[in-house]
Amino acid sequence: MKEHFSSEQFARCFIGGATDDERHHIRECSECNAELERLEGAIGSFRRAVRERIEQRSTLRPSFATPSPFVPAAAAKRTWRPVMATAAAVLLGVFPLLMTEGKLPGEATKPSSYDRDANALMDAVSIHLSRTMPAPMERVISLLPQRKSTESGGIQ
């Protein structure tokens, strides 16, 4: 193999799937060898950089390395759900009560009409009870000539 490697051959060599010819070529061709080393170096640096980034994070947040107690994010989210639901239920239950309670004092400031009605009703009842005959009969009775009480048998 005299030509330089294609990108696929480089990739195959890199992942360790090179044929015997390709391995031989890599040993012989300094240019392809340097190119492969460059690729290995870049990916190696990337690997190291990612690892160091995670180590940095662990150093900055030591609790991260040994989480105790372990509280999954999803679980944390879920624990809020019942709390929020309870809070909403309480609000829905209490709010109308508060509103009702708020209304009662408001209504207490204007009971006069109610009282007035009640007094009027009581007056009407008193008048009705004090009548000696039914109200519809009063007009008819008033048309009749007045007689002495002894003759009418006590009817006034």
Partner: protein, 189 residues
Amino acid sequence: MKDSASTGFIAVRMENPAVEIDDFEQLVERYRTRVLRFVFASVRDMDLAETLTQDCFWRMYRHRKAFRGDCTIQSWLMKIAINLIRDHARSRRFQFWKKAERVQSEEIHNWPDRGISPEERAAVNEQVQAVWEATRTLSERQRTVFLLRYVEDLQIGEIAQSTGLTESTVNVHLIRAVRGIKKRLGKLS
């Protein structure tokens, strides 16, 4: 499955997986950094990565009874993480996120690299940025496979378990991913 002890990953095929998963805090301690690393490299935002990592463990905890032990815990966790990342990418939140990506990508500009000269550091930073940007242009599967292989050091078999692909398909995606990254690096030089 190959032993991946060289990567520091404890590839345990458990006798009784439910018992192992019951020790949940230990599992979190052992695997959280790995999951976070993979998620961070995928979504490019640390806060979001932490949220998704927590969701990943939460989902694992909820479905721990369903774990049959036919793959490693890491593979299972990665599978959950991949699904979460995919779900997130499809959500509306991500659409908003994409708009804000430019601002958040600043977070990755200054990679720490100790013991080298400023010039070398600048060159390394440039390379890292190029690879980082290149991973963004890859397809979702190519990116996932690439990150699992070269950031998390998972073996091809473990990647196949995590992604639900065959090993040969994983290899194909991996070759395409590396080609894409090399193309990007070529443009850089």
